[in-house]
Symmetry: C3
């Protein structure tokens, strides 16, 4: 198995399904094994967190280990990740030393580093996450990077399987309005994992909100290889027809990286049309509603939908704990 957990692309569908089997077992007996006993795991947060911070810290505890939380720029130093730089600016430490020192202390490093939404061509390559993986000989676990959030998408796949079984489903990834542009890591990883698990995936967003071209290529080849399909629409109403799983997520347009004001003007056009409400849900095949959380109520989704019995957002968040414990158990030896 791959040393790191950076994106599900690095794992076969069989491996990913095995991780979910493992997570299901851990969910039924949370304190069954202590494979991390005596081990410490660093959790490096460049950005805020609730579910990830809590679920990782608790997962490590339940596996017998010790979580060490570091916040570069907050409780720790600011970090440079580019090679060969003369560090006479505002960065006080290089990732090279940061990672090579940490791995003397800990058995794995979890990293959260959001997109800054400033420079598409750079950020689409996930440079900070990749620098961690390059400098480290121990496992690096992606806790949401500029382009991927594989722990989330694996919890998503586990939750779909729990509620709807192992057969492929008609799954909608739908854009929603949000007052400001957000990173694309969650939709990227959800779409990729849905394709790897062979679901029939529909992706709906306004024109201009297309996902990354190279990623779309991966998604289409994974769908083909795993018996699924991918289709696209810019119509927020037709999108819901016949769907069994609605996955809502707001994200920014790659065309507006570096221009947040332009993005905010652009997206304002779509505010009322893209909210997930009862009218849209009524077009589905009794679909489950999913969102990675945090979610803005009555902006992304109405109270009536998220509070309905078909809403499985809390199960989805709970499964973050179990799948992350499975991932840590497999990777950290």
């Amino acid at each position: 198995m791959n040393k790191d957990f950076l994106t599900t692309e690095h794992f076969s569908t069989a491996e990913l399904k095995g991780l979910i089997d493992h997570a299901v077992a851990l969910k039924s007996d949370r304190l069954a094994t202590k494979p991390l006993s005596g081990k410490s795991i660093a959790l490096v947060f460049f950005n805020p967190s609730l579910r990830t911070r809590a679920s990782m810290q608790i997962g490590i505890y339940e596996l017998g280990g010790n979580a060490v939380i570091l916040e570069p720029g907050g409780t720790s130093w600011t970090l440079e990740h580019r090679e060969g730089v003369v560090m006479d600016g505002n960065k006080t430490e290089h990732l090279n030393e940061f990672v090579r020192v940490l791995e003397r202390y800990v058995s794995a490093i979890g990293v959260r580093t959001f997109a800054a939404l400033e420079d598409w061509e750079t950020e689409r390559t996930d440079p900070i996450l990749k620098a961690f993986a390059r400098y480290a000989s121990i496992p690096i676990i992606n806790l949401e990077s500029a382009m991927h959030h594989p722990c989330q998408s694996m919890a998503d796949m586990m939750t779909i399987r729990e509620h709807l079984g192992t057969q492929k489903k008609k799954v909608l990834l739908t854009w929603a309005w949000h007052p400001k542009p957000l990173p694309m890591a969650v939709p990227n990883s959800f779409a990729l994992a849905a394709a790897q698990f062979g679901h029939d995936l529909r992706i709906a967003h306004p024109k201009g909100y297309e996902l990354d071209d190279a990623l779309l290529g991966q998604i289409q080849s994974q769908a083909a290889a795993n018996g699924g399909s991918v289709e696209f629409t810019n119509d927020p109403d037709e999108a819901f027809n016949g769907i069994e799983v609605v996955y809502a997520k707001s994200f920014g347009s790659k065309n507006f990286y570096g221009d947040p004001e332009g993005e905010i003007r652009e997206r304002a056009l779509y505010r009322d049309k893209w909210i997930v409400d009862d009218a849209k849900m009524s077009k589905t095949a009794d679909a489950r509603f999913m969102h990675c959380l945090p979610v803005r109520r009555n902006v992304i989704v109405t109270d009536s939908v998220i509070d309905s019995p078909n809403s499985i957002v809390v199960d989805e968040a709970e499964n973050r704990l179990h799948i992350q414990k499975a991932i840590m158990t497999e990777l950290i030896k």
Copy 2:
């Protein structure tokens, strides 16, 4: 017993005395039992903390459990607690999801959420704390809310019993000057607990610094039911006559919520008259001096009083640890 520990009002005097018995036992053998073994407890801090953060984290460790600290707006997201709101402002997550997700991970949630001193009619109802209790099926422990600090007042009652025995005492709650207005949670909870434990309570403050009317009603009925009494004075010198326990605390006036500048001008009139000094202490019946800490020296109390043998502020702070361990042991099953 009540599911939550929000205010001592929800517990009988017998239950409260039982918690102190339990805390005394835990104090004599801090590592005696591990009822939280394998369990995680979330500590949610909207405000800074020393004693609470350290004593809760250590208490959970000593009981065998795992403390998870979350700081909404700091390391976590900002939280909306009102229902039905269109969340297009600066709050990124709703307490509904925050609490319902957390309870999948943890066995109880401790919450610190101070009064903002902006809107008396709203804040006097403790809306954020109550929202936690409403959304949660697991125990919510109040680590100081807008109106109550029951872990503090229980440590206070335990400390009085340790130093002066179980019989009722003449107890003074006295206001003091502070450069800016502070919340009323500590005086509220101290006065309520003193009445529930049947002490003869005197409350001293300048005119205009009265406690909440409904709370005063509770205090008087509790005093009557438990063999104690309540009296009031606006005279900072007479207040100390014959007293056995002096409990000092600065707090803001409910009449100046939303007007901190007006409050600061008003309270300036009382600065020199209300400090606890040797002259006032000499009028007491060899009273013990208490304060919840943090305390501003030579502002609330002189060095000579807080450094005297009659000062029991450090014992009082220590007992936070033991009473909180007792509360967690009773509530978390």
Copy 3:
């Protein structure tokens, strides 16, 4: 042995060598003993940290204990350390109560409190660290104060011994340019420990960057007592001749405390001359390169030197973990 670990000056060379023996043993079996089982240790950070925070937290875990991190002014209150003050300013708690309460909860307190570089005559006496030691009856461990960083210097001595054996070495402490003035704790403690371990110490810096006079007196008497020597130079090239260990560190001039802009203009004169590069390293006797980290690459040291096989900065950082575990094991009973 001294109650506290504030500076190596309080310990004999035999005691210091014994700590390194102990650390070497712990390094070979990190989970060998649990002397801190059931005990909590407070780590008080007035300043940011990576290595110290992670290595202390992990060391405490590996010894069986519980680390409690407090950040005065961040997650905790702001602290006053002067005695007799009327606390009507911006400090909300006195160190007296802070320390006396904490020691009811924990078995030792680690403290990080950097120099502010504002008032040399005050800061050279390490007033905040000393106030912790004065109020506490439990061990205080210096995690870098205004004038000392003894955990770092002990890790440094351990690293020299690991790589070059127990015999005395020709050791260079060399100043380097940095965009802003930094505290002197690391060079102070390194020079003192090198003298206590009997090395032949050369100290190189531009004119005006002399260490504290009283400290230099200690260093010279320790060198004399332990069979070593101390010499000084202002020439950044001659400094490297025949050296076996290069220890680079930028630090501010005591003559510019309170005048950071003046310091920045002054030090700009030395930027290019004082970087550790291949040309300087080629004059040494195949010297090892050391730095306490964080280090600015191509400012303090070139990539080619820090990435060379002679660079032992990561070993040095790793040894922080082991030596701190030895110090805690010896002090905390």
